[in-house]
Subunit: 349 residues, 2 copies
């Protein structure tokens, strides 16, 4: 059934016009007469025509494909799922469609998917680079004039735009808040030390300690996988220290949740016996128990902004690298043991 593809020529024949006219109608050109346009559209509906973007794209190699690529390093992390949703929103309503791929932190896989996306002629790429991505990996892409926006993580030396959250300010605020509550042994838990994000967050932590005239103890910085399991592992190690910390700033929310789990396993009550602050403000942070005090970065909004930036560059034809640092704010909830104002939680129900 319907095996034969119906083309612009078929509908031209049906409407009694030339294929050129049909093409003009498809592009909503103002040059075509209203009556003709109606006839053509009728034929299109009649025959169930579907536009062949591949063919169109072949002719107009510049205007491009209406595809944007998005590759993330860990889609199972809800931060990235939210990010993808944000991107999808703006991209979709601009008439684009998104290729989404997950690299699972593998540079090899990342290379493959980016190559594949290029073959399909993406108009632009939003990339949260896998660990270990180098500027050279992105070189051919930008050389061919495809706009790239890095999100979350930057790639040193790459001439591409980036949209990252203000990591330094985030942990800085978190530490100041904890210090203000009277904590002076504050740990920094979780994250891989070989990423720029880790260093920025760590530096914010260190600088804040200095600013508050607190000592910086190396033993209180414990790295681990940036996941729930990693959080458990990190707090386990922290609790073995001769002088235990009384509070922790965590690399991200996933780690923070793990830290809470680990504390409970030791019969410690997060928010009461130990203060915990996360980073990202994933959706579960509001409803978890205790509700997580965290640095809000609004992943969905970040996705939207990244997509807007990318579309701007695509439309501009050519756009130069632009580095946006998206600001960040501390959302005080319960896990840090601050004045427990129940109103926020209840209003969310």
């Amino acid at each position: 059934m319907g095996k034969e593809r119906v083309t612009v020529i078929d509908i031209a024949r049906a409407a009694g016009v030339s294929k050129s006219t049909v093409s003009l109608v498809l592009q909503a050109s103002p040059l075509v007469n209203e009556a003709t346009r109606a006839k053509v559209n009728a034929a299109i509906r009649e025959l169930g025509y579907v536009y062949n973007r591949g063919a169109a794209n072949l002719r107009q190699s510049n205007a491009k494909s209406k595809i944007i690529g998005i590759v993330v390093n860990d889609l199972t992390n809800s931060f990235f799922a939210e990010l993808a949703v944000g991107v999808d929103m703006v991209v979709q309503s601009a008439g684009y469609v998104q290729f989404l791929a997950n690299t699972g932190e593998s540079v090899d896989r990342q290379r493959e998917v980016i190559a594949s996306m290029r073959e399909h002629g993406i108009s632009g790429l939003i990339l949260s680079p896998a660990r270990g991505t180098e500027a050279a990996d992105l070189k051919p892409l930008v050389a061919s004039g495809i706009p790239v926006v890095n999100v979350v993580r930057q790639v040193a030396g790459a001439k591409v735009s980036s949209l990252v959250s203000d990591n330094h300010a985030g942990t800085h605020q978190a530490v100041r808040h904890l210090a203000g509550l009277g904590h002076h042994r504050i740990a920094f838990l979780g994250g891989f030390p070989d990423t720029a994000v880790f260093h920025e967050r760590l530096q914010g932590y260190r600088d804040a300690l200095s600013d508050m005239d607190l000592a910086v103890h190396g033993e209180l910085v414990i790295s681990s996988a940036p996941s729930r399991a990693g959080g458990v592992a990190a707090i386990e190690r922290a609790l073995l220290l001769r002088e235990r910390p009384t509070a922790a700033v965590c690399f991200n929310d996933a780690v923070a949740f793990g830290v809470c789990d680990g504390l409970r396993a030791h019969r410690l009550d997060p928010g009461e016996d130990f203060a915990v602050i996360g980073f990202d403000d994933v959706i579960e942070a509001q409803t978890a128990v205790p509700a997580l005090t965290t640095i809000s970065v609004d992943p969905q909004g970040m996705g939207r902004r990244a997509a807007q930036l990318l579309l701007k560059q695509i439309n501009a034809g050519r756009a130069d690298a632009e580095a946006i640092v998206s600001s960040v704010r501390l959302v005080v909830r319960q896990s840090c043991g601050a004045a427990t104002d129940k109103r926020e939680r209840l209003s969310l129900l």
Copy 2:
């Protein structure tokens, strides 16, 4: 820089052969001499050639595009994020690339994205249909010979394959387990009543009650949005009943987490004062506190299976609708108050 696209003709010139030969090399044809192949490959690397799938696809309209589409109704639900990851795995290693779109339960948006995907010539589609999707919506797709696999939800009357979990058996097991622990007022909480999945799970719940000679009380079935917030709302209403339930089977894990939150807000301890069972076994179920007893459906595995089924159909050229019911098992953790075996939790750390 590099504005001019390098084509098969450029590399033919560079390698001193004809474009046809280059084409054969690209397709790894055995007809071409080893030495020639080497020369051509060298030129390809040299000039930084990138294959134009659009053009290729234009010529061989049958063999198709190496794109598969996946559209889900709620990507922020980690169940679907996991599902997408599963699909991505097998699809990627088969040399395909995935279009991922999120409908947010909007049939309009779903119509748009499917239309857009068709224009791009997807070879197949994996679809978790938005609420209210009708067989007519899928008609043109299947008429044009594009294989479709529905996941999670079915569409009545649509001649497409489907892969759903055994919803009836799942809630049936859950209720039996709770009854075995001595509960006799067991609620069914959450979910939209206008979906087939809801009815299947509800029916499993009802049948199990009957099988265990327990009364079925209509008031104990409380529907709500299938989200964390919906779970909170549902348990709120359940606790207002004259005769409160002592246990609940929830529509899915998100609802179950919400139910736990709501219980705590009433100073009830989930797992101790009230038994909660979820459905899906999302990744957080293992590490939450209390660890969630739930029906495991392995979303990632489901994604993989769906992708395999779809690829099979694509390769077979034509495949008839096949309905797979994927089996399901109860994973007993802590939230149902059963013998609290700590080993499972600890082994996960």
